[in-house]
């Protein structure tokens, strides 16, 4: 199962940038197209995942790791196994955005937003592929450290269990931030029964910490 980047959702990109909904000028529309194309050409998406039986004490079999928090317990209530996953667009995109910040900051912010939309796309594709792979079992939503009451610090556990740095080249800083920045880690419950879409709304969005809409008391309307 290869990590796949199949497209960049323009509306998502516009939302990330705080688009007020006015028309796009000719110059700006061209910039969006240019940036989307560059990002798609540059990204080398990579992903790693692994399936663990879930033990009665909440640990993942073969590891010392038990995902913490009420939200996760609720998510995994009907699950007998858990997939841990990590995905990234690679250092190629990190470098692209950094260089753009020096050469053309206008393009840089668009590329940055395109990167956010692109890594979402990679994760969505991976989840769809996992759903096929694990059929007839069913998957819960994707859930990342920092969502709900799952501590951001669990990122480190995921990193060690999946050997993320060695497998896909993402590193974790002392302060718990991932590099390349356009990277995601998550867990997904695996159940014999169909799983509801539980985690709608802002608290389950990867932009939760940094969303400009939420800060203004609004929502982007995407979830």
């Amino acid at each position: 199962m290869e990590a796949r980047l199949t497209g960049i959702e323009r509306n998502e990109v516009l939302h990330y940038l705080g688009w007020p909904g006015v028309g796009l000028s000719k110059e700006l529309a061209a910039a969006f197209e240019r940036c989307e194309r560059t990002l798609l050409d540059t990204a080398r998406p990579r992903a790693v995942w692994r399936l663990f039986p879930l033990l009665p004490d909440g640990r993942l079999e073969g590891t010392g790791y038990a995902p913490a928090g009420e939200s996760v317990r609720e998510l995994l209530r009907e699950c007998g196994a858990v997939v841990l996953m990590a995905a990234t667009l690679g250092t190629e995109v990190e470098r692209l955005i950094r260089r753009a910040q020096l050469e053309n900051m206008g393009d840089a912010v668009i590329l940055d937003a395109c990167g956010s939309a692109a890594i979402e796309n990679v994760c969505d594709n991976l989840c769809a592929d996992l759903a096929d792979e694990l059929r007839p079992r069913h998957l819960t939503d994707r859930f990342s450290p920092g969502y709900g009451d799952m501590p951001l610090a669990e990122q480190r556990e995921l990193f060690y269990v999946l050997d993320v740095t060695r497998r896909i080249g993402v590193s974790l800083s002392d302060s718990g931030l991932m590099l390349p920045q356009k990277s995601v880690t998550a867990l997904i419950g695996v159940s014999d029964r169909p799983q509801p879409k539980r985690h709608r709304g802002c608290s389950s969005c990867s932009m939760f910490e940094t969303c400009a809409f939420r800060k203004d008391g609004k929502s982007c309307g995407a979830l």
């Binding site: 940038l17 110059e27 073969g62 060695r166 590193s171």
Partner: protein, 786 residues
């Protein structure tokens, strides 16, 4: 130790350690090195199984025993390493089995992509090396690396703090690059230059996938080669490897034929794999290594092979350039590295870097410029200085293999600089001059060239890494010298058989329509055997001449490069003209850079610089800001407008610099993303906007410790400090920074911004101002600084 395997028999290494320890009960995700202290018998038992299977070199169980990865387990790296060496020694007993100190990646990404500094990486590796040497390791193995810069820190730490052989293996993807973009040729050139004893691949791929990469590697080095692949590719669902020991050994056979002598296994391999390897490999006669090597210089991601004409860009040099000198004095790195990017876009293949200027701390500036350049361009670098300290600073900072420019025939210079070239593995330029100056005849220059080549060889520098510069003199002043230079060049090329380099542009100094002379001389020089013209790549005529020469000399096969260069040339590139009734304000508003520059130039004909700023550029930016606040435009447009205005400001700066006046600035602002935070795009946007409002911005970067911010604020007497933090987890260090600034007693205002901040939160942590966005930070700056 490297020598021991070069000629003779095969050396068998061990196989996977982590998987074996997990089989012995180590939970997945726990620090395996802890067992060196708590369960030494179990670790030694794994080693013993490998010895029984035929391993004659054991890697200690110390892959992650560095201060960053070990922090979470509660043991000091030295304890884990001492225990690790002891475990391996226990297993080796009295058998002829050697023990290698295993050093893996630190787990933190280095600058420029990450935040770990080269010196910090060096320090962490030094700690490991010292502990390993003290514990009695026989050699040092640096393995599973993806970042060549991290490898360089580790190799220097190993060679400077222990007297043991050093081996390096890196992990590649099937694409032929590592996760951070290092190429096989760059790895080989750099590490061969740094003087490691053996090199190769481990992890990430199985034997089948590694063979094509091996075929590439062996062309770029004559060092012994190491292969330690995974047991194929893992099953994603379970993490298990499926290849059998027999298939593993069989798939490695081609490597034997390609001259590899050092074999082992990585993830998923067991003692059975090693035993099988021993049986299969010893049944065949090892193949011979090819001797025709390829040479070149490189960054981590890009190699300029020495196989024809390569253009060296000359524009990073303050000589005779007022604007560049001003940038050096004002520490304006962005201006300097923009000259690098521009030359790469124009077709330069190597960048000359000269930052020497009276009053500048050249070694420090060399380090900073080299690192900054490496963040934005992947061109190999030529370090241009007459100060050995600056050369060494640059050589240490370079990620890849560089060229040193230069030495000359003077013994003192040769003895000071050649050892540096040897130690850091750089190619070197020798100028055909000495204490007596530049000789007037080609014979005398040739004699100096001969002396330089001899000296370089005596220091162990490969002949292929010696570049001779026969020196260009200005034809308008010394007309006969052009022919002498060409004659010397031809002789050096044909008789000494080394490569040649020449600063070309100087030929036409003082003449009108210089380009004709420059291009004509360049063509003759290439015909005489010039490999590396140092030129201005922004001159199309120069680059056209190079493109043509490459076709005529056969370097550009089937004229592919030439056709690419000229196939899609538009009839006449459109020059932005200040026409159509567009005002400067319109141009700024629409983010049109070319038009803004043209209209600024027009305005400067009738107005003073300050008037253009005060009456045209600033009001235009203000209007953009208002529209942004009213949400009539959004962020990309605000930034594009600021960037367009920048073109106008830059023109004015240039004009002022030419008159020798000071630059215009409304005041100094310090910006930093606080410690622990690596998300700095927001801070960078603020910088662009503030600069375009005419402020001088001192950007300390990201992940900046509080003390560094305090020191800079005091040293530069900054009245406004802007701090950025994106995550709730890093607002804590923002608060700490504010406290430190207040404690220092330095009178300054502090503004803060970042996604999770609010005006209330900002007040709570002691900030004077909360800036919602870049526009507001400019408003605050105006309030504080005027």
């Amino acid at each position: 130790m490297g020598k021991a395997v070069e000629h003779s028999e095969i050396l068998l290494l061990d196989g996977g350690m982590g998987t074996m320890l997990q089989a012995a009960g180590l939970p997945l995700g726990q620090t395996p090195e802890v067992w060196n202290v708590t369960e030494p018998e179990k670790v030694a038992a794994v080693h013993r199984k490998y010895v029984e299977a035929g391993s004659r070199l054991l890697y200690t169980n110390t892959f992650g025993a560095n201060r960053y990865k070990a922090a979470r387990c509660g043991y000091a790296p030295a304890e884990l390493i001492e225990g690790g060496v002891r475990c391996a020694r226990m297993a080796a007993g009295d058998l002829p089995v050697k023990v290698a100190l295993d050093i893996g990646p630190l787990g933190q990404l280095l600058e420029p992509l990450g935040t770990l500094r080269f010196e910090e990486a060096y320090e962490a590796f030094r700690e490991q090396v010292v502990a390993g040497a003290a514990a009695g390791a026989d050699l040092i193995v640096i393995e599973t690396m993806s970042d060549l810069y991290e490898v360089k820190a580790a190799v220097l730490a190993a060679k400077e703090n222990a007297d043991l052989p050093v081996w390096v293996t890196m992990s590649f993807e099937a694409s032929g690059r590592t996760f951070v973009g290092t190429t096989v040729s760059a790895m080989a050139l750099t590490l061969t230059g740094l003087g490691v004893d053996a090199l190769g691949f481990n992890c990430s791929l199985g034997p089948k996938e590694l063979i094509p990469l091996l075929a590439e590697l062996r062309q770029w080095t004559d060092l012994p080669l190491i292969l330690k692949p995974n047991a194929g590719l893992p099953d994603p669902a379970t993490g298990a490897y499926h290849i059998t020991p027999a298939a593993f050994a069989r798939e490695l056979l081609p490597a034997l034929g390609m001259g590899v002598r050092i074999f082992g296994g990585c993830c998923g391999t067991t003692p059975d794999f090693i035993r099988e390897l021993g049986t299969v490999l010893t049944a065949f006669a090892p193949g011979e290594r090819k001797t025709d090597r390829r040479f070149g210089v490189c960054s981590a991601a890009n190699t300029a092979e020495f196989d024809g004409v390569r253009v060296i860009g000359e524009r990073i040099n303050p000589t005779g350039k007022r604007r560049f000198q001003q940038a050096l004095r004002e520490d304006d790195l962005d201006y300097i590295i923009a000259r690098g990017v521009e030359q790469q876009d124009a077709g330069a293949e190597i960048l000359d870097v000269n930052v020497g200027l009276p009053g500048i701390d050249e070694p420090r500036m060399m380090t900073r410029v080299v690192r900054a350049l490496q963040g934005v361009t992947d061109l190999p670098l030529m370090l241009d200085s007459s100060d050995p300290a600056a050369i060494e600073a640059g050589l240490r900072a370079v990620n890849g293999k560089a060229i040193v420019n230069s030495v000359n025939g003077e013994a003192a210079v040769l003895d000071a600089v050649l050892p540096l070239c040897k130690k850091y593995g750089a190619a070197v330029v020798g100028l055909c001059m000495d204490r007596g100056g530049i000789p007037q005849t080609w014979r005398e220059r040739a004699a100096i060239a001969e002396r330089i080549v001899e000296a370089a060889l005596s220091y162990g520098i490969d002949k292929n890494d010696i570049l001779i510069d026969c020196l260009t003199l200005t034809v308008s002043a010394q007309q006969s010298q052009a022919a002498e230079t060409l004659r010397a060049l031809r002789w050096v090329k044909e008789e000494l058989g080394v490569r040649t380099v020449l600063g070309v542009s100087n030929i036409s100094f003082g003449l009108p329509a210089r380009e004709h002379i420059t291009v004509s001389f360049l063509t003759q020089a290439m015909q005489a055997g010039l490999d590396f013209p140092i030129v201005n790549p922004n001159s199309e005529a120069v680059m056209d001449a190079v493109a043509s020469f490459r076709v005529l000399s056969g370097q550009d096969r089937d004229a592919e490069g030439y056709i690419r260069r000229f196939a899609n040339v538009p009839a006449e590139a459109e020059k932005p003209k200040a026409s159509g009734g567009m005002t400067l304000a319109d141009a700024v508003m629409r983010g049109l850079r070319g038009e803004t520059a043209a209209l600024t130039r027009e305005a400067l004909e009738t107005m003073s610089e300050m008037d253009v700023i005060e009456k045209l550029l600033t009001p235009a930016l203000d209007r953009v800001g208002e529209r942004y606040e009213k949400q009539e435009i959004f962020l990309p447009q605000l930034i594009n407008a600021a960037n367009a205005a920048c073109e106008g400001f830059e023109l004015i700066k240039k004009q002022l610099a030419k008159r020798g006046g000071a630059s215009v600035s409304k005041g100094k602002i310090l910006l930093a993303t606080v410690r622990g935070d690596i998300h700095d795009i927001g801070k960078n946007i603020v910088r662009v906007v503030l600069e375009n409002y005419g402020y001088t911005v001192l950007d300390l970067g990201r992940d900046v410790p509080p003390q560094e911010i305090v020191d800079a604020a005091v040293r530069e007497d900054v009245r406004l400090v802007g701090l950025s933090a994106l995550m709730t987890t890093t607002v804590v260090s923002m608060e700490e920074t504010i406290r430190a600034l207040r404690l220092s007693g330095h009178p300054c205002k502090i503004m803060v911004g970042g996604a999770v901040l609010t005006p209330e939160y900002a007040a709570e942590i002691g900030a004077d101002y909360y800036a919602r966005d870049a526009k507001q930070s400019a408003d605050i700056a105006r309030q504080v600084l005027g």
